[in-house]
Every structure is written in structure tokens, then in C-alpha cells.
Amino acid sequence: MAENLLEVKNLKKYFPVKAGVFKRTVAHVKAVDDISFAVEEGETLGLVGESGCGKSTTGRTILRLLEATEGKVIFDGKNVMDLDKKEMRAIRRDMQIIFQDPYASLNPRMTVADIVGEPLDIHNLAKNKQERNEKVKEILENVGLGEEYMNRYPHEFSGGQRQRIGVARALAVDPKLIIADEPVSALDVSVQAQVVNLLQDLQKEYGLTYLFIAHDLSVVKHISDRVAVMYLGKIVELTDKKELFKNPMHPYTQSLLSAIPEADPKKKKDRIVLEGDVPSPVDPPSGCRFHPRCPKAFEPCPVKEPEFKEYGDGHFAACHLLDK
């Protein structure tokens, strides 16, 4: 088994809800509430869940774009949460992020060469202008963009091309870990596949480790080695992807899988349609957070929070049913 490159332990991120004249904190949005997982070197861990489940917050808290409320993030043997500002800036070379929106994530007033060259400037990776140019050219080639694009501005590109530029920027510092935050969900269907293929190629070439955050289970299934399913700030299930799709243990995973409309009209699924909406993370339900919508909830669910534990060969889940 490979080494763990990233270990997240009991991570919590609460956002204060302020109200009144004196901006007193009246409640907390428990966006991420005590989650733990590890990502092995060279693997892709998929993090999947619906909007508001805390998956993006998890990604940003790991990178300390948001400060965690509690918990540890151990990257390459160091607890990222203990690093000071300078050490933090240095470690950012090894952990990068690709954003969802290829329009908002590129500075509209910088040329492609400057966007991709910026990480080189920050970490002094190029001795002079010429070397910088050479490197930018090479990185752009690696993501499938020619050097003729170097002096153009982001608005001259299509969504897919912009996402390639975003990938190039992340790649420029030669990172070990890339957190991909919904990297294809804003793209046209026909372009999504290009970016997915590119990410896979780059992983093979550079031995990258991915934390792949998405709401689209079919994309996650395609690209991941293991998958973690989040619901309302908690991880409810985590296992090898084949196992997850063959043998989903948590009722939420089961209904999530059955809810995906499949591109095959002949297949009429036995669908578990969940009742109601995702509850607010400000005041999450007691006990198991899924119990108000769970078709299989029974006595202990509203009162006791189920433990997140292993049920055979790396298959983790948090559900009282499994202990019955």
C-alpha cells in the first residue's frame, strides 16, 4: 500500500452567522463537521455530494484558503494547520487547486503567459525572462495549448481552453497534490471529456495525486480510485469505487446512485426518490443527519449519531442499519 500523502483528521469548519447591531455570533453553519480521510500518493480520491454538503469547503480548508475551526491536515508529514505564513506560502508549491468556473478563476487583465508564469515568479522558478517564457511554453504544450496563445487574454478563449489554462497554472509549480474543485461541471458536455482525459494523462505523466471534488457521480466514478460520499458536513461512506457502485451500504449513497438519470431509455430503474430537501447546516438534524429523509430510518437514528467505521476491507460507512 502506498504512503498517505494527505491525511485529514477530525476537520471542522464552522462559519459564524452574525446578526444584530453588534454583529454577535448567533449560530454556526456547520459546513464541515468532523471528517477524517486519507489520500494515498498517486491515487485519485473522489469527494462527492450535493450542493451545501461541504465538499468544496473541505477542499479550501485543506489548502487553508479558509481557516479550519478544528482538526489536522497532515500533508507530507507536516501539519499544515501549524505552519506560519511564510512556511505556508512555501508549501503551496506542493498542493494546488483547479477551480470550477473557468471564467472567474482567471484574472481578466492578465495574458495567458502571465497567468501561467505567475507561479514561477512567486516561487522564483525561472532565472530570467527567457527561461520563464520557455517554461510557460512547455507547460502550455503539456495541456494542449500552442505558444501562439501566450499573449492573449482569457476572454479570447472558450470554456474548455480556459480550464486548460487553469490546469497549466496549477501544474507550473510541479505540485504533488491537486485539489480539483468541480473542474468540469461548468463545461459543455463534449468538452468535459477532453478535460477529464487531460487530467488522467497528466496524472500518469507526473505521478500526481488528486482530490477530485464533484457532484456528478458518473464523472467521479470514471476518474477516481476511491470515493467518499458527503452529506451535510459529514462523510457517510468511503470505499473503493468498484465496491461503492456495486455494494453501496449507506441509504444516502443508494438513493444518490438511483437518482442519476441514465442515458439509456430502455433502463427503467427502481428508483428510490428521496422525500424533501437537504436540511439547513445551521441546525442539522439530531442523531444521524440523514434520518429525516432516510427511507430506512429506525429507532436509534434520530437520537444517536452513527459511528463512521470500517465494514470489511476498507469500506467505511456511518449508518446504524449496518450494526443491526
Binding site: 484558503l65 505556508m88 494546488q96 477551480f99 472567474a104 478563476s105 484574472n107 487583465r109 507561479p119
Partner: protein, 291 residues
């Protein structure tokens, strides 16, 4: 949109082209003032030469082509050299107060928390004082003179830029490209200058252009009220204040002394109008992008 593109569109737009032409005209007048209206005393070119000491204004004549004000100040000379005064006041006041506003607003929005609270409360205090009264009081304390007028105007006019900048930075700060720069390990300095200011500056430029005119009007108001430029100084506001006693004309001919009021009035109006035209056009050009 890049600067060249903005400039190209400014020149294509008829309204802003008109504004640009008027300003160009004023620039030419200001630059060539020593040739257009040679000063009598080269050491003190801003002192308007007098054609005598008589109280009653004199109509345009061969020697004084725009006529003279009360006290026989040469209107033509005052208008020409007053152009320089107008530019000086406009550029310095708007330049410095906008810079203060940009810095203050950016710091407040970028760092947030108590820094933001403190800075914005101070801004509120400044904004709560009526602008004209505040400047009159400050100039009175500091003493008459163009420099003191500019100090007073700067002191009480940076707040709107600060507020505008703050709201701009607050929204851009959350943009993903700023997050991306943070994730790359960029320091605050780089993020503020390379990523934030470049993407927030256009509305401030529009506002600054609009304020060019209004600052010159306010300076003129102060001169008109007698707390601005010292007597005899080439300043459009002062020229109008010379007209104060003659606005009503003589009995049966209310327009008898029209030149004392209309000529400096037209100069001020054109000057303000041109900056407003450019500001408006700027906004129209940039708006689709701001949406």
C-alpha cells in the same frame, strides 16, 4: 477590455469625442498661455494685469478683447491663465484624493474585520460634515490661497472614492482568480496590486473624471465666496465674484455688463461639461463589462 480598446471606443463615441476636443482646447490654452496672453510681470504670471483703478467694468475693446472687470482686471488674461489654475486644482485634488480613497478603501476591504470597521467609521464621520461648509471652515483656518483650497478639498473629498473602492474590492476579493493567487502562495502585495486593483480601477477612473469638473466648481465657489484665491489671482471663480455687483446691469439694460459674468461662466461650464461627457462615455463603454 484593455486600455487601447477603451481609448478607441472613446474616440468613436461622438459625445466623448466632443468632450475630448473641448479638453484638448483647454490644454492647448493652458500650455501656450505665456504666448496667448504674455504676462506683464514674468515672475508673477498668475497676477491679472489691471488697466487702471476705475470701479466700473469696461466692455470688450481692442486692448482688452473680453473687456475688464470691476477694478479693471483683464478678463481675457484671467480666462487664459485661469485655465492653468483649473487644471492644477482639478488634477491635484482629484489625483491625491482618489489615491487616498483607493488606498483606504482597498485596505479596509482587503483586510476586513476591525480594520474595516475603524476605517469606515472614520469615513462616515468625514462624510457626515457638509462638504462646502467643511471646506470653508478649513480654508478660513488655514488662510486664503490656492494651496490651502486644494488641501481643504482633498481633506473632504476622498471618502466617495474610498467607499466605491471598498465595495469593488469586496466583490473582486471573493473571485476565484484571487483565491487561485492565494493558493499559489502569492503575498498580499502581489494580490492587491496585480489582481485586485487592476480589476477594480475602472469605476474609480469614471468617478474621477466626473469629479474633475465638480472640484473646479467647488474651488470657484470658494473664490466666489471670498475664501478662495487671493484678489487678483487668475481664477475663474474669482472672475465671477468680480461680476457680483454688476449682474443686474443698469436700469433698462439688464445685460449691460454681460461680459463680466458670461465669459468666465462659459469657461467653467465647458470645462465641467467636457469631463462629465468623458465620464459618461466611459461608463457606457465599460458598463456591459461591469454587469
Amino acid at each position: 477590455m484593455e486600455w487601447q480598446e477603451v481609448l478607441k471606443r472613446l474616440l468613436q463615441n461622438k459625445i466623448s469625442l466632443l468632450g475630448i476636443l473641448i479638453i484638448l482646447f483647454f490644454i492647448v490654452v493652458a500650455v501656450f498661455a505665456p504666448w496667448i496672453a504674455p504676462p506683464r510681470d514674468a515672475d508673477e504670471p498668475y497676477l491679472i494685469p489691471r488697466g487702471g483703478w476705475a470701479i466700473q467694468p469696461q466692455p470688450p475693446s481692442e486692448e482688452y478683447i473680453f473687456g475688464t472687470t470691476e477694478g479693471q482686471y483683464d478678463i481675457f488674461y484671467g480666462i487664459v491663465w485661469g485655465t492653468r489654475t483649473a487644471f492644477r486644482i482639478g488634477l491635484i485634488v482629484v489625483g491625491i484624493s482618489s489615491s487616498i480613497g483607493i488606498i483606504v478603501g482597498t485596505i479596509a476591504a482587503y483586510y476586513g474585520g476591525w480594520i474595516d470597521e475603524v476605517i469606515m467609521r472614520i469615513t462616515d464621520v468625514f462624510m457626515s460634515i457638509p462638504f462646502i461648509i467643511a471646506t470653508i471652515v478649513l480654508v478660513t483656518i488655514l488662510g486664503q490661497g490656492i494651496t490651502n483650497v486644494m488641501i481643504a478639498l482633498i481633506t473632504f473629498s476622498w471618502m466617495s472614492t474610498a467607499r466605491l473602492m471598498r465595495s469593488q474590492v469586496l466583490s473582486v476579493k471573493e473571485d476565484e482568480f484571487v483565491q487561485a493567487a492565494l493558493a499559489l502562495g502569492a503575498n498580499d502585495f502581489r494580490i492587491i496590486f496585480r489582481h485586485i486593483i487592476l480589476n477594480t480601477i475602472f469605476p474609480v477612473v469614471i468617478q474621477a473624471s466626473m469629479r474633475m469638473g465638480s472640484m473646479v466648481i467647488t474651488a470657484s465657489t470658494l473664490s466666489f465666496l471670498g475664501v478662495g484665491a487671493p484678489e487678483g489671482y487668475a481664477d475663474w471663480g474669482q472672475m465671477i465674484s468680480f461680476a457680483r455687483n454688476w449682474i443686474l446691469g443698469v436700469e433698462g439694460d439688464p445685460l449691460h455688463y454681460w461680459y463680466t459674468l458670461v465669459i468666465p461662466g462659459v469657461a467653467i461650464t465647458l470645462f465641467c461639461l467636457s469631463w462629465n461627457l468623458i465620464g459618461d462615455a466611459f461608463r457606457d463603454i465599460l458598463d456591459p463589462k461591469l454587469n
